[in-house]
Symmetry: C2
Subunit: 138 residues, 2 copies
């Protein structure tokens, strides 16, 4: 693996439209695929049913709301050669509550489930790392 | 999304050779891509440098070693249509320490880094779930 600088990591993340949100649910590690957009330096996802995530990812400024720390991962890895890259961002997640913002993100982000109530969640990366996956033989 | 039964979930996992291990590192959610094999009903991964994972994923029977709970995710998702599937297994991770087993898994699992010390870790799924990702329009 070869490290990649944070700016390039964000560009890699922008180059794809889905990844995986990692959080804690009932004290257990949880992960699910979601769609994302990169908005400025933030990652915004649209997720449904993630009640644990939504209930912890309070809007900024709400009582007790430092938000919840999550990891977000996206990658492009060739299934045969296993070459590619993986980006991991870690930071606080907050519910997007502003109606205009919610509408904007809904238009930008495809949902994976029709009919289900879903949420827009913004992740502000505190740390973003990326690796290029290279062959062990090289 | 459409649910899939656990037997089928394991078959989906067998059909691919890498996924993502989710664990806790310094109290933060961590995730990294790894290669896997399914051995019986267990998932065995080869990981390097995951010192936090390796140090917590004690061999079975060691003092204080219930092991550490991890999640393991693999998916095949079309980058354009976003159709596909995602499997998530949750369970205790244990270091593989038996020399013969380590040698066997090393032969089965490609590493991603040459030269780095790596570990074989066995995950015994307590729970395995899978979803088929379908279009929101259907």
């Amino acid at each position: 693996m070869v490290g990649v600088d944070p700016g390039e990591a964000l560009e890699l993340l922008k180059s794809v439209s889905f990844g995986r949100i990692v959080f804690t649910e009932q004290a257990l590690p949880a992960i699910r695929p979601v769609n994302h957009v990169v908005d400025g330096g933030d990652i915004v996802i649209r997720t449904h049913g993630g009640a644990a995530l939504a209930s912890h990812a309070l809007p900024p400024g709400e009582a007790g709301a430092g938000g919840v720390v999550v990891a977000y991962e996206a990658d492009v890895i060739d299934p045969d050669t296993h070459l590619g890259w993986s980006v991991v961002a870690t930071g606080y997640a907050h519910l997007v509550t502003d109606a205009e913002e919610v509408a904007r993100y809904r238009a930008m982000l495809r949902p994976w489930v029709s009919g289900a109530k879903d949420f827009a969640v913004r992740i502000r990366p505190q740390q973003i790392t990326a690796v290029r996956l290279t062959s062990a033989a090289t």
